[in-house]
């Protein structure tokens, strides 16, 4: 089975063999056009028994199709001494003398090219059926597996050390030294280093730095990922990261305890700004527009929040869509009115949260977040329809969901009256379905279509929990810790430099301050 093929193939390689082989591929193996498909449909049946199944093969020397399973093609090969046949399903070349499939470099090359051609032809044909509107059909290039280049082979030979990832390995887990009330930074770093897409981006070296100075936060993140996945088990000291954060986000500088949520937003903002070199260039133009940035931070974290303001008089709706990186949710017990919604209502049953004697759930908070709110008479909006100031209702829904959704439970109250921490327990699920909170769901509800059954085939709004940041203590003195998920179902508690194994129950029973969810299924845009 050498890549040079068998010697019997050489008997075939005479005259115009390349063109003949191409025709066979185009007509009978990978038919790209409607015409070749029709011909294939009609003619690809066994010349002996008429079946179209049974691993049909075509003789390479004459026009004969025969079943492989029923040995019809073998008979033909023996009788006519035609030693080569091609598998019509996968395009492999079979040699009857060697009694196995053979891999000739030239023939493989032709096969690859023909397959790519047919694929391209097919991808651009129109799809008439509306039944397939949910599928992404824009597949321009067929997926091919990675083959190393000469340079890469060289690098692999010079660096023989290999790391094997098993289901129990703890690579990626590392403690972080507290540099003086920096636990707020440590737990966000833990959450970010365990965001799968971010990890993949940095470990595959996708950041091309365009900053002249040494103060690029993205480069520092890249270094951080290298430290985390190096396999070292001793805690890491993130002094350079801290320094860069102080440089770029002055309001977070100093040794006082800061808010982890504020740090998250500031960090994402700086990373987004420093990612300019990595934005995908459209037609050679640089994407400097902050609204259409395509950096990795935007790709992962940015969602679209739709705000609909409905005029109570003319019922005209004015819609705006704003980008967001996180969703801040009010909690019961805060000074803003929290209407206790009936338990088990729309949404909670989908997400299977526990309603222990009326405890609040994350979906309760989301329902409150997306409920229509009457803006009182003191907050009249100028209506574009009736051209006057009228009372209106405002409603928020999700227009576009980010790949990673971060929920911020507003536990720290800083109102004029008081400053306190709300410690109400909010239960949150391991798996979250955001469908009830989408702008599209609201539209179908308004059009009278009630989505009673959960659409099993539409997986686009399903999320999995992968990190939780918790705050213990009071507003004056407290401590941040985080839970992060490895390998789909293993959880670890990160308390600065100390990493311990945690159970799912530990995670779900915790108070919850920042909740990080990751989309379960990723689709092409």
């Amino acid at each position: 089975m050498s890549p040079a093929g068998c010697s019997h193939v050489n008997g075939y390689k005479v005259d115009n063999w390349k063109q003949n082989l191409r025709v066979i591929y185009q007509c009978f193996v990978w038919s790209g056009t409607a015409e070749t498909r029709r011909r294939k449909a009609k003619s690809c049946i066994c010349h002996m028994c008429g079946a179209h199944l049974n691993r049909l093969h075509s003789c390479l020397y004459c026009v004969f199709f025969g079943c492989f399973t029923k040995k019809h093609i073998h008979e033909h090969a023996k009788n006519k001494r035609h030693n080569l046949a091609i598998d019509l399903l996968y395009g492999g070349i079979y040699c009857f003398v060697c009694q196995d499939y053979v891999y000739d470099k030239d023939m493989e090359q032709i096969a690859k090219e023909e397959q790519r051609k047919a694929w391209k032809l097919q991808a651009f044909e129109t799809r008439p059926s509306r039944l397939y509107s949910l599928e992404s059909t824009g597949i321009g290039e067929k997926y091919t597996t990675w083959e190393p280049t000469k340079r890469e082979l060289e690098l692999l030979r010079h660096n023989p050390k290999r790391r094997k990832i098993t289901t129990n390995c703890t690579i990626g887990l590392r403690g972080l030294i507290n540099l003086g009330n920096t636990c707020f930074m440590n737990c966000i770093v833990q959450a970010l280093t365990h965001t799968p897409l971010l990890r993949d981006f940095f470990l595959s070296d996708r950041h091309k730095c365009e900053m002249q100075s040494n103060s690029c936060l993205v480069c520092e993140m890249s270094q951080l990922f290298q430290e985390f996945y190096s396999g070292h088990r001793s805690p890491h000291i993130p002094f350079r990261l801290l320094h860069l954060v102080w440089t770029h986000a002055r309001h977070l500088a100093g040794y006082e305890q800061q808010d982890a949520h504020e740090f998250l937003i500031a960090a994402l903002d700086v990373l987004h700004r420093h990612c300019k070199g990595d934005t995908i260039h459209d037609n050679g133009k640089k994407a400097n527009n902050p609204n259409h940035c395509n950096c990795i931070i935007d790709q992962i974290f940015t969602g679209g929040l739709q705000s609909d303001v409905t005029c109570q008089v003319c019922h005209g709706v004015s819609t705006t869509i704003d980008p967001f990186w996180d969703i801040s949710l009010d909690l019961p017990g805060s000074s803003t009115p929290f209407w206790p919604l009936s338990p088990g209502g729309d949404g909670s049953t989908v997400n299977g949260e526990s309603h222990l004697s009326g405890s609040t759930t994350l979906t309760d908070c989301l329902r409150r977040f997306t409920r229509p709110e009457h803006l009182g008479s003191s907050a009249k909006i100028k209506c574009g329809g009736c051209h006057s100031y009228q009372e209106s209702t405002k409603q928020l829904t999700m227009k576009k969901l980010p790949i990673v959704a971060c929920f911020h439970l507003k536990r720290f109250e800083h109102s004029a009256k008081l400053r306190r921490k709300i410690t109400t327990y909010v239960s949150f699920p391991l798996e979250l379905d955001m469908t009830p909170f989408m702008a599209s769901s609201k539209e179908s509800r308004m059009n009278g279509q009630y989505q009673q059954t959960v659409d099993v085939l539409n997986n686009d709004n399903k999320y999995s929990l992968f990190a939780v940041v918790n705050h213990q203590g009071t507003l004056e003195s407290g401590h941040y810790t985080s839970f992060i998920r490895q390998h789909k179902d293993q959880w670890f508690k990160c308390d600065d430099a100390i990493i311990t194994k945690a159970s799912i129950k530990d995670v779900l029973d915790s108070e919850g301050y920042l909740l990080f969810y990751h989309k379960q299924f990723l689709e092409y845009e």
Binding site: R37, A41, C44, G50, H52, G92, Q99, Y101, L131
Partner: protein, 96 residues
């Protein structure tokens, strides 16, 4: 040919002509990768090759060994979805 296999052949023809067969194949491929079936079978193939020895094993050996396991390991959800798509296709081309 029995009426059943005639019907099969006719459906197959229609699937190939409209290009639906290729689309279904790609859908199936994606689903089987997603649910880990491809990795499971790949591991099984490696075991078979180790058993028979790299120099002596043929594609036929692999096909014989791996096919029954491969058929058994396909998840029901994948079968359901494919059936659903094929039925939808047939409903659309009701002239058969």
């Amino acid at each position: 040919m029995s009426k059943d296999s005639q019907m099969r052949a006719a459906i197959n023809q229609k699937l190939i002509e409209t290009g639906e067969r290729e689309r279904l194949k790609e859908l199936l491929r994606a689903k089987l990768v997603e649910c880990g079936w491809k990795d499971q079978l790949k591991a099984h193939c490696k075991d078979v090759i180790k058993e028979k020895g790299l120099e002596h094993v043929t594609v036929e050996d692999l096909v014989t060994e791996v096919t029954p396991k491969g058929r058994a390991l396909v998840p029901d959800s994948v079968k359901k979805e494919l059936l659903h798509r094929i039925r939808a296709f047939l409903a659309q081309h009701a002239t058969l």
